[in-house]
């Protein structure tokens, strides 16, 4: 994976700025009441939900253990239904494949359904540099394309924008339409419909992502709510589906099991509005549909996760649920992560695909509270993977010098039990003596990084070890 658009190294500066961004903070506060609350409701109204999660995990584990064979089967099925499969080792190859297809079509306008792989390979600036006009048609993606920003959430890319900012963008970019107030959300929607309908009708090529690739049938599947993905893949002469190699599943039956947990986890819907299965190009007698159908399969570092400590992240179905549940994402939003994939899944995927040295802050941006794993429909042990990266960070000397010195000092004491006991009871005694009155410290020497943004609770009573020793005796 090349890293030209990764800015994860600047995580500290960007997350600090995010905390001070009042608009972002206001928008992020709504996550809990919307996506997450609806997910809980959907889970409660389907008694089999957790059993379906277990079944989905089994399906994906089986598929990943036979990934080569299912990819072969998928390719054969696509060929049999008249489609074309292209293989890309990295983003450079994927961009070249897409460009080549667009050039053969003499494409000018390229509509796009929502695709995270499209973001991963940065296809838009590349097509623009070659004289084509890529148009994002998902409303959220369209908003951030106007703002020239990357998505900040896997399924809600413009979640960082409020209605005033959207109105400002629309008023700037739609000079031929009547100006919209921030409260006129219906009007903005109507404008997007008018502007993008025109693009759908004139597009030469349509690019979408794929939620699933079905080995049995050679179908690509998109799961959407707006209907833009379908207009993107039905109206132009050519449909290109972009997908990571881990998106393959064996059969339609397997797909439906995973589908039962996908929308419920993502938006709390039982099913998204539109789930579409496509195979090959237009057939004899068909009145619509693309003439040609291409699938671009991207590796970009995924294959090296097989057999690695983060292999299980290949199960991810990109529902975005871990972002909604994460207290850190909920405070800093997606852009601070500086990578295509943000939140807990991004904190694992980014160092996995791009290398830890590019993104070693991300696995540290977690309290390891475990909520991501708790809600993940595919039960991916994200906290375990974050700990793995932290260990690797220390082992390879990437951790900051102060942290390494601190841990070394602690290790020196911890391997000398007598001294350790004396020092901890001394420290506990002193802290509890000074902090007893208020119960917490708002500033403390040598702990400034902690107390700058929150208080440190003062110890209450004796240390754990001395309490343990005392209770064992009695």
């Amino acid at each position: 994976m090349t890293v030209h658009h990764l800015t994860s190294r600047n995580f500290k500066e960007k997350s600090t700025a995010a905390l001070e961004d009042a608009v972002l903070q206001g928008n992020l506060l709504k996550l809990k009441d919307n996506f997450l609350a609806r997910r809980t409701k959907a889970k409660e109204s389907l008694p089999e939900f957790d059993d379906l999660r277990d079944a989905a995990v089994v399906i994906k584990k089986h598929t990943i253990a036979h990934l080569d064979l299912y990819l072969e089967a998928f390719e054969a099925s696509v060929n049999a239904s008249g489609g074309h499969v292209h293989w890309a080792r990295d983003d450079t190859e994927a961009r070249a494949i897409v460009l080549n297809i667009c050039k053969q079509e003499n494409a000018k306008t390229v509509t796009k359904g929502k695709t995270m792989v499209g973001e991963e390979i940065a296809i838009n600036p590349f097509l623009e540099a070659h004289g084509m006009t890529p148009i994002e048609t998902d409303l959220g993606e369209y908003i951030i394309q106007l703002a020239k920003e990357p998505p900040s959430h896997i399924i809600a890319p413009a979640i960082h924008k409020n209605r005033q900012q959207v109105a400002d963008l629309f008023n700037e970019h739609h000079p031929h339409l009547e100006p919209r107030d921030a409260d006129d959300v219906d009007g903005m929607l109507a404008d997007a419909r008018i502007v993008l309908r025109e693009q759908f009708l004139k597009a030469d090529v349509g690019i979408t992502g794929a939620n699933f690739l079905i080995a049995e049938t050679g179908q690509t599947v998109i799961v959407t709510n707006e209907g833009n993905g379908d207009l993107t893949q039905l109206l132009p002469r050519v449909h290109i589906a972009l997908a990571g190699i881990e998106k393959v599943v064996p059969t339609l039956e397997d797909t439906m099991t995973i589908m039962r947990v996908l929308a419920r986890s993502a938006t709390g819907q039982e099913m998204s509005s539109y789930t579409t299965f496509s195979a090959g190009g237009r057939r004899k007698g068909d009145l619509d549909g693309p003439e040609a159908f291409h699938v671009v399969l991207l590796d970009n570092g995924r294959s090296k996760l097989l057999g690695s400590p983060t292999e299980d992240i290949l199960r991810c179905i990109r529902c975005g649920c871990c972002l909604n549940a994460c207290p850190v994402y909920g405070k800093i939003g997606g852009h601070a992560y500086g990578s295509t994939y943000s939140g807990p899944v991004g904190a694992v995927l980014t160092p996995s695909l791009a290398g830890l040295s590019e993104a070693h802050h991300l696995p540290n941006a977690s309290s390891l509270c475990g909520r991501c794993e708790e809600v993940c429909p595919m039960r991916i042990p994200i906290p375990k993977m974050l700990r793995h990266f932290r260990e690797e960070e220390v082992a390879s000397g990437m951790a900051p010098a102060s942290a390494r010195r601190g841990i070394a000092l602690w290790a020196w004491f911890a391997s000398r039990p007598g001294l350790y006991r004396t020092m901890t009871s001394l420290t506990t005694g002193v802290l509890s003596l000074f902090g007893r009155k208020r119960g917490r410290f708002s500033s403390l020497p040598m702990a400034g990084a902690w107390t700058a943004t929150r208080d440190l609770a003062s110890p209450q009573g004796k240390s754990f070890q001395s309490q343990w020793a005392r209770r064992s005796k009695s």
């Binding site: 292209h86 080792r89 924008k161 179908q219 589908m259 004899k284």
Partner: protein
Amino acid sequence: MSEARDAIFTRVRGGIPRSDDAAARRAVAERLAGHTRGLQPQRIAIDQEALVDLFAENAQAVDATVSFINSAGDLPDAIADYLRSRNMPAQAAIAPHPDLDGIDWSASTMEVHRRAPKADDRIGINRCFAAVAETGTLVMASGPDSPATMNFLPETHIAVVAASEIIGSYEDMWDRLRSANRGSGEALPRTVNMITGTSRTGDIEQTLQTGVHGPKALHIVVVKEG
């Protein structure tokens, strides 16, 4: 075969521990041919009449409207009534489906154009392949008699389904579709659209809005007989 393809397969195989290649291939071939179902939700373990009710209830919960008619001959009047109640013109593009062709539209106020929809058609009428009670989901199978654009271009989508075509689960639907062999020689149609409610978005401040790019209204007519 391309160099990239070979390199990807080499890397993938290198990452998967496997002692018996033939056994793995057999397991995959069996899985692909087996169509083994996963867990089916209890909510669909009910009789046909109850499935029809469950379908209607679930579809209405996602902003679709549902009406019932006794026979296909009642369709023109039922659609005309619906459109009148919405102050919409009695003009529609209609899928060239044999079931819809067999209806006498001239006896009603409806003016129907038998073709794929055009950009300025406000209303589209299409024939469903089936409907899934589990989540109130319509299933449209593309083909010469059912253009997929009918489900997305017009701002009002009217879908016609027979009560006997309302089934419990998605898996029931795939079995029916596989045996219907609608794809003229292919196992499945080119496009299968599963539609659950109207077009919607939460992209502006997570506020739910309906009717973005696809239909603003979805009206389902269930034909009780035939």
